[in-house]
Amino acid sequence: MKVWSAYSIKGGVGKTALAVNLAYALREAGQRTLLVDLDPQGAAAFYFRVAPAETNAVTKKGKLMGDLLRANIRESDYPGLDVLPSNLAYRNFDLMLDRMKKSRKQLRRLLGTLKADYDYAVLDCPPNITLLSENVFRASDRVIVPVIPTTLSLRTYEQLRDFFRREELPAERIAPFFSMVQSRNRLHADTMTELRNAHPDFLATVIPFSAEIEKMGLHRKPVLAYAAPDSRARAYQALCDELRARDDQ
């Protein structure tokens, strides 16, 4: 089972849309996929009409319980794609992880218990760098980072790289791409050129800003499930293909 995480220090950059659509695209490619909603806001599960988890996967003793986690898995309306919905108690996640032994590898251990069931796990992670994010970084084969082509976004991306360096995490796990790109925005175009020069690891695929993607909340479906075949929102499909090709290298 490969683990892909949608991650950003900064909020509002199209992270959840990324997780939801990547999971959908993987399923379309015949991969058994689990979407794990780690964001306490529960937006990823919302898009699949899956209610928040009833059982807290974190017991009072602070032990992550694989069985309880499994009991919370819900099959989406798209066979082959399951959702592990978020629970508000994840807010206390960090606190609990902090109290545990090997606190940075708990998530990895937990996901390991699901590896027979799925080809891919896609994680929608809460923003900020916390102990949970560190768990995510250690559990992931890919940390996929949406970057809006602005100076501020660049700074947060570089913060993430610094963190990886400091913690001696493999930087090649990070897969950044440009998100919410406005094609007629001059600044976006210039920033992208500049950034690509500085960071050749940026994915070639660009996710455009699109009203269609914004409407996901209305449809309560991944945009790939309702967008027209020629829609620009299909870029998620291309992004998924590019990431898989990079995995195969």
Binding site: R27, G30, R32, F48, R49, V50, A51, R70, A71, N72, I73, R74, E75, D77, P79, G80, D82, A116, D117, R220
Partner: protein, 535 residues
């Protein structure tokens, strides 16, 4: 991915469930209404299509508790449940024509289950059932799908049955259970007669056990002629049952079985001597001998063609193509011979002859009594069985490493006679005591059969080579392949010889002999028949 039984619906989660519902004109609507009281309902599509069910002449799959059907370009195998499709076990896409023989089933899991069950038998359409599917999704308050239902209206208008397949979604088991409870209110009582049996009936078929070892309803004191009559008329009926399959060339087993029946008839007529006046016995033996002989060539060609895969497996790949031409010749000869036999079996002459024989063995024959016609069959059979056994023992003692093949073949012929006797008259003896003896004999016969097959194959290959050389150009590739093959077969035959010796030794051993004697030659029986059965 959309397969309801895919591994993602993995262990620990409830599998798909199936219910057969009581039929009423409005059943489908009633079911919908009841569900709508508890769930949101969304119709996700409808489909109508025929299911074509396949099985062999012997109903091999049916009696194994399975159903195999073709649907939308796929072959599907399911458990048979309440006379309909139960859990689906395997699926195989169909590339071209509907698979007919074991070899047409790929190395798929479906093939793995079906192949050993059907053997050399052909798969035939046994029923065609129209199914109207309505796919319904049950939704929760978020309009999230919690259960998928496939409502299947099965069969014709007047005899429609409603089958519901439910596929729970992972994590929504409580909802699935609730829906199942609603559906259960409509569940039909289990009955022997469901949609499949009715569909078979429409095509004039019905699953029935097929066997070459029927019960002849014999008793030990039945007069010998009566017993022979019972046996022959039954075997004749089975022969005739197989004729259609031979004429239509469905598979090779029809001819094979028909020939076994004829051989058994010949055996019973020659083993139970004097149950008919001598000239009558002579006439019957000649008739059945001719009936058997007639199809010798076709059976030989069948056997040669069936050996193709085995031959190919024995030879290194470089030598395989050399045989292509030979098999093409065999196939051509077989097609010709098959037509000849089909025409013969379909002819009025043949039909009249078979009907006359059936009449002769059907009721009383009106012939005068003969030397053994009224002897009770029990002791007569026992004496014959014991004689055959002693004969095999005697022949076996003479065998050595240099015994010609023909003499080993003679043992096999005797073994066959003994086997037929045991089969005919098994009803008269204690099954528990008989079984180990039959098993012992089967072991010997299997050895002898393999030995003989290897000898026959070598002869057939030589014969082909001789004709090729005499009549047309014989390519060197053919010579190489045949040479290689004959050598391999010869080596295997020599190895088999040791097995034959060992099996014979065991069969002739004192414990086995003692058991045969105790069962078939108790002192009282010996006295009773000593006068009649003197050689």
């Amino acid at each position: 991915m959309d397969d309801p039984d895919s591994p993602s619906a993995s262990a620990g989660f409830p599998a798909a469930f199936r219910l057969r519902l009581r039929f009423a004109e409005t059943a489908a609507n009633d079911v919908r209404k009841a569900l709508a009281a508890e769930f949101g309902l969304r119709e996700a599509g409808t489909a109508t299509g025929p299911l074509v069910f396949l099985d062999t002449f012997e109903w091999s799959l049916w009696f194994a508790g399975l159903v195999l059907w073709e649907q939308g370009g796929c072959l599907r195998l399911g458990a048979r449940e309440d006379d309909w499709i139960g859990a689906e076990l395997a699926t195989m896409p169909i590339a071209g024509a509907t698979p007919r023989f074991a070899e047409d089933l790929s190395n798929s899991p479906l093939g793995g289950i079906v192949r050993p069950l059907i053997g050399l038998r052909a798969l035939l359409p046994v029923a065609r059932v129209e199914v109207h599917h309505t796919l319904i999704e049950l939704l929760d308050a978020n309009r999230k799908t919690v259960l998928r239902l496939d409502l299947q209206e099965v069969g014709g208008r007047s005899e429609r049955v409603l089958v519901v397949h439910g596929r729970p979604l992972r994590g929504y088991e409580p909802e699935a259970l609730r829906a199942a409870e609603v559906l259960a209110r409509f569940a039909a009582e289990e009955s022997a007669e469901g949609p499949l049996i009715r569909a078979f009936r429409r095509l004039g078929r019905e699953p029935r056990a097929y066997t070459l070892r029927p019960n002849f309803e014999l008793s030990a004191d039945l007069p010998a002629r009566e017993a022979v009559r019972h046996i022959v008329s039954r075997m004749l009926a089975i022969t005739r049952e197989n004729e259609r399959g031979i004429i239509e060339d469905v598979d090779t087993e029809f001819l094979h079985d028909a020939r076994i029946c004829i051989r058994k008839i010949r055996a019973v007529l020659s083993l139970l001597k004097d149950v008919y006046p001598p000239e009558e016995t002579k006439r019957l033996k000649a008739t059945f001998s001719r009936l058997g002989r007639e199809t010798n060539r076709l059976r030989d060609l069948d056997v040669e063609l069936l050996a193709r895969a085995d031959f190919a497996a024995r030879l290194p790949s470089a030598l395989r193509d050399g045989l292509n031409e030979m098999f093409a010749d065999f196939a051509e000869a077989r097609a010709e011979e098959q037509q000849r036999i089909a025409a013969r079996l379909a002819s009025a002459d043949h039909r009249r002859e078979m009907e006359a024989l059936a009449r002769f063995f059907g009721e009383t024959d009106g012939l005068a009594p003969s030397a053994a016609s009224d002897v009770p069959v029990g002791p007569l059979a026992a004496a014959q069985i014991y004689r055959r056994y002693r004969k095999i023992r005697k022949l076996g003692r003479k065998l050595g490493p240099n015994t010609p093949d023909a003499e080993i073949h003679a043992v096999r012929v005797q073994g066959k006679k003994l086997r037929y006797l045991l089969e005919f008259f098994s009803e008269l003896f204690d099954a528990g005591e008989l079984k180990p003896l039959e098993k012992q004999l089967r072991r010997l016969q299997n050895r002898l059969g393999r030995f003989n097959d290897l000898a026959v194959q070598q002869r057939a290959l030589w014969a082909y080579w001789e004709t090729r050389r005499a009549t047309q150009e014989a390519p060197v590739e053919l010579a190489l392949s045949l040479g290689g093959l004959v050598s391999l077969l010869h080596r295997d035959q020599q190895e088999e010889r040791e097995g034959v010796h060992a099996a014979l030794e065991e069969f002739a051993s004192a414990p086995v002999a003692a058991r045969f004697e105790a069962m078939f030659d108790p002192p009282s029986v010996a006295e009773e028949i000593s006068g009649e059965m003197a050689p």
